[in-house]
Subunit: 305 residues, 2 copies
């Protein structure tokens, strides 16, 4: 795999629909992935917004198998494979690689807190060694607010140096523009994805490669529009428009908000179901969210039927 194959653009951490018995709803899942792919949106399946950490290892592998069987393009897929246990991370990473995915998005182990950089380094090194495949492309997943285990710039640099061509990028969900600029300044050419689209333009201007954003589940075309046109004269205006939609959505917990939006615009109540510990939006909140989106002319073309 040459460096030309490195991933870029807009990816969605694909939300996972559940049947009434809380098993993943494979049919709706494949359909949503198809809708995203048709709008040039990559599939960061099994991310935070996918409720991936509420799925078992077996469920994740079955869902990925199913997407491949349904003809979705593995090269635009970046499955989340970082678990608390090295054993699970290796299992998921090997499985994803066997399907030819473009890369994997790897959380650090997130149960133990205040762990050392040495411990985190050993974790990633052990996974890489066990996977033992030169085709592996790891995007480190920095999301300190959720994981409570930050991946600092020194650790990122050490991993990048030890495993060039394997540790090729990161998703930064910290929302910290200072970190964005520090990382890209320290590591030019690093495959840096902003964790939401409000930093997409800043990221592209600093040398980043795109964004992986919850909101891409519902607003993929517009976000990709900015990615394609970030050097255009109207880029700041495109960014402002994205920010407006994002602001309406992120007033509420993200996963319930996304499921409410899909449920509403697809006219499919089955989408409005989460696996515990997450819960659906209260009805009043859901109505407020939809009313605000309607008011700014938001739509999801082609999501029905």
């Amino acid at each position: 795999m040459s460096s030309n194959d490195l991933m870029s653009g807009v990816l969605a951490p694909v939300v996972t629909p559940f049947a009434p018995d809380l098993t993943p709803d494979a049919q709706r899942y494949a359909k949503h992935c198809r809708w995203l792919q048709d709008q040039n949106c990559g599939l960061a399946v099994f991310g935070t917004n996918s409720e991936a950490n509420s799925l078992s290892v077996g469920e994740r592998m079955q869902l990925l198998d199913m997407l491949i069987d349904n003809g979705l393009d593995p090269k635009r897929m970046m499955p989340g494979t970082g678990c608390c246990s090295i054993v699970d991370s290796v299992t998921l990473t090997q499985h994803a690689l066997a399907h030819g995915v473009g890369g994997v998005l790897m959380l650090p182990p997130f149960y133990y807190k205040d762990v050392s950089d040495e411990g985190l380094y050993r974790t990633f090194a052990e996974i890489i060694e066990r996977v033992g495949d030169d085709g592996l492309r790891i995007y480190l997943y920095h999301f300190p607010q959720m994981s409570q285990v930050p991946l600092g710039i020194e650790l990122v640099g050490r991993l990048r140096e030890a495993f060039p061509g394997i540790v090729v990028g990161m998703k930064d969900s910290s929302g910290d523009r200072g970190n964005l600029e520090a990382v890209l300044s320290a590591f030019p050419g690093f495959g840096y994805f902003a964790g939401n689209e409000t930093l997409l333009l800043a990221n592209m201007r600093a040398g980043g490669v795109g964004c992986i954003s919850a909101t891409a589940n519902v607003n993929p075309k517009a976000i990709d529009g900015l990615f394609q046109n970030w050097q255009a004269d109207n880029a700041d205006s495109l960014q402002s428009s994205l920010n407006e939609t994002r602001a309406a959505v992120q007033q509420f917990p993200l996963v319930p908000a996304l499921k409410k939006i899909i449920s509403h615009y697809a006219a499919d109540g089955e989408w409005n179901r989460l696996r515990p510990p997450l819960v659906e939006l209260a009805e009043a909140d859901g109505n407020k969210l939809i009313a605000e989106l309607d008011a700014i002319g938001f739509e999801m073309q082609g999501i029905r039927g």
Copy 2:
């Protein structure tokens, strides 16, 4: 199972030894469990200090099978079975129940933060319903500093009321004496284990049932001595003595410290190995720890050979 069967006393969250290839070392594990049981210490296998969240579901089940095959008493076992995914929690809980364990210690799902009590309630309710066994005895595991997902007293009360005879107790590792007194005052007879032995005497006086403490891995006999004699005239003095050992140990990260202690007193360097992201103590720290323990006359009788 009658209420007479409810668990009490001192339990150790058993530390898990690893071979050079980082697989669990079954032989040393069984031996350590036998040493603990011989000193009347129950086995809270697969807890925080067991590095359980660095193990896969399969590894945990194999280790438990092995302990049972080795004749250790399931009635004094309280395996940790709470995972991020309901599916995994159900798998581990059913497996443990099939072995006749005295109870299970259940973490809430710990990836998603700021989750609602409703979401946590649904998690435990779904697990209980899926397990579907009246013999289930759940001890809720409250450890906000590590899990970052507290189990507040309202939630505990709601679960206890909805599932009487099943949600029978908790382990509180918050170290918050106010919570200890509030819980036992609100729910007399609740099977409340203090999360470390420094609160053992206070817990027994407030109506609790014992403690589940990291340090029980190395100091089980003395801790059980206070449990057996908490109403004796010298109970405060016994508590002070336990606190002295605890203070020496908890200057350092607990799991590395425990492994260093066992490694030293068992004269077995193989014990001094952790699975990433945890790492062994630096040599100087380890030497300081052992010197302080030696200075207060600490010993681990029968740990060698």
